[in-house]
């Protein structure tokens, strides 16, 4: 067997741990309770325990994990962890770091989830509430999926339309300036997106 030496990248590990929500990372004792309880690991290649291990070793490759974008935020890992690591919060931190890399052009991911989340936030910044029809249109355009996306959700859309469950116009809240203010202060670079400065 070929031997391999692995150096812990302390700087990157520190970077993750200093993110809000990832403070408890070092408590992990690698018991796999999170993995056993994770509902998506049954269907996709995703092992929460291993992801924590990669973080602990400071492996930058951890940001390439496709599962980062498949996590459903079900809170099973948070709930069951004997060390209170709160892995679901760690995921949000990793997503933020990955998004930075994507924006800097250093990372490419297959998932459209980062784009979806951005569109979702932009809708809130614009109207103060979610506007699904507008969201889908924006997402179709920005993800590059275009008609393909609309086609794959055609059935769902028609069913909801038939039951009168789709809003055809956005509703803007009265004090939208308060929302814009929140985005400006806490939205990071998102505070400046789409002209909601």
């Amino acid at each position: 067997m070929k031997e391999m030496t692995l150096y812990v990248d302390h700087a990157f590990r520190e970077k993750i741990v200093s993110e809000l929500g990832a403070e408890r990372l070092l408590r992990c004792f690698q018991c796999s309770t999170c993995t056993v309880n994770c509902p998506i690991s049954e269907f996709v290649d995703w092992n929460p325990r291993l992801v924590v291990e990669k973080c602990l070793l400071g492996l930058r490759d951890v940001l390439k994990e496709e599962g980062l974008w498949l996590c459903t935020s079900c809170q099973n890992c948070y709930e069951h962890c004997p060390q209170d690591v709160r892995f679901s919060e760690v995921i949000l931190a990793l997503r933020r770091l990955a998004t930075e890399e994507i924006k800097a052009g250093r990372l490419k991911v297959g998932s459209t989830k980062p784009v979806f989340d951005e569109c979702f936030l932009e809708m809130i910044a614009k109207y103060g509430r979610q506007y699904e029809a507008g969201l889908i249109r924006m997402f179709a355009k920005r993800s590059g999926l275009g008609f393909k996306l609309l086609l794959s959700f055609k059935g769902l859309g028609i069913r909801l339309l038939k039951k009168g469950k789709v809003a055809l116009r956005p509703k803007k809240i009265k004090h939208i300036e308060e929302i814009r203010d929140i985005f400006r202060k806490f939205g990071g670079d998102r505070g400046e997106i789409g002209g909601y400065k």
Partner: protein
């Protein structure tokens, strides 16, 4: 009159209209007032990965509710998660200062299931007009009960909906999938995974012979109801299981008209189970009437 503040959340105005209709109808039948907080904003659902942004968005709603002065009732489990998570985090004064909120945690954030099953169960029982003669499985999903740091029920084996539905006369079998994840949050970006996840829940409901599944979250509802035809197609199986909001079932038991509960808005038709409940109620009623009549006859004869 008992009063609560009400945060409907975005979906209750669109894809979950029947949830909004049935919540309002049930509370009004119980004589409990719901006051929608003014000018509320979106909670951010599960798409806000920046904690401070999520806290600030939700703190605005919490402060609005606090100004109104009543505990806040929330029907959507994702909204409940966000509001309760923020309320929990804001125990930290430093954090409150950091996001600049004047919310002082003088009110409580409550899921509508918690309020109906724990605060108002006696009022409901007193007013039951029809027994729910059906076999129904309770499905809680994730964020209704997890994390238990700020939840109101057991995170793996919740019981509140079971208790509520049984009290209304429903046959509630054991349902091991009751707190499993339906996959809803990744529907738009990785559709094939949630189709399988929700499929397993529908399969188990079929296996235990359920007439319907009762839910407490708009996203679970969308996944199991409006997406059910797509799940059937993907798995090559037929389910046709009606998915009802638990408030629609409570409303039925309270004798509220099905239309007022939005029972015509569910995608998988609920007509058959609703008819079953109404038919049984009429039968019980006529048996009851016949019994009353024969008693009266006996009294007349004896006098």
């Amino acid at each position: 009159m008992k009063k609560y503040s009400y945060y409907p959340g975005c979906t209750l105005h669109t894809s979950a209209k029947e949830y909004d209709m049935s919540v309002r109808a049930v509370f009004s039948a119980l004589g409990v007032e719901l006051i929608e907080i003014e000018d509320w904003n979106c909670c951010g659902a599960l798409e806000v990965g920046i904690p401070l942004l999520a806290y600030a968005l939700n703190a605005r709603n919490l402060a609005l509710a606090e100004r109104a002065g009543f505990d806040l009732v929330v029907p959507c489990s994702a909204c409940f998660y966000n509001l309760a998570r923020t309320d929990h985090a804001l125990r930290d004064e430093e954090l409150r200062r950091r996001i600049g909120t004047n919310y002082a945690r003088r009110i409580k954030v409550r899921h509508v299931l918690d309020v109906l099953a724990n605060d108002l169960l006696d009022e409901i029982k007193m007013r039951v007009k029809r027994e729910l003669s059906m076999r129904v499985v309770p499905y809680y999903g994730c964020l209704t009960v997890r994390p238990s740091d700020f939840g109101f029920d057991d995170p793996n084996h919740p019981e509140s909906m079971d208790r509520l539905l049984s009290a209304l006369g429903a046959d509630v079998p054991k349902f091991p999938s009751k707190a499993k994840c339906c996959g809803g949050p990744i529907l738009m970006t990785a559709e094939e995974v949630p189709l399988k996840m929700a499929g397993q829940i529908l399969e188990e409901a079929k296996r235990v012979g359920a007439d319907a599944i009762s839910v407490a979250c708009p996203l679970c509802h969308l996944m199991l109801d409006a997406k059910q035809p797509d799940i059937e197609e993907a798995l090559g199986k037929e389910f046709k299981v009606p998915i009802l909001y638990f408030t629609q079932l409570v409303g039925l038991a309270l004798g509220i008209k099905p239309r007022k509960l939005g029972l015509h808005k569910n995608v998988v038709p609920a007509r058959e189970v609703v008819e079953k409940v109404l038919r049984q109620a009429r039968r019980t009623l006529s048996v009851g009437r016949a019994a009353a009549c024969s008693k009266k006859r006996e009294r007349l004869r004896d006098s």
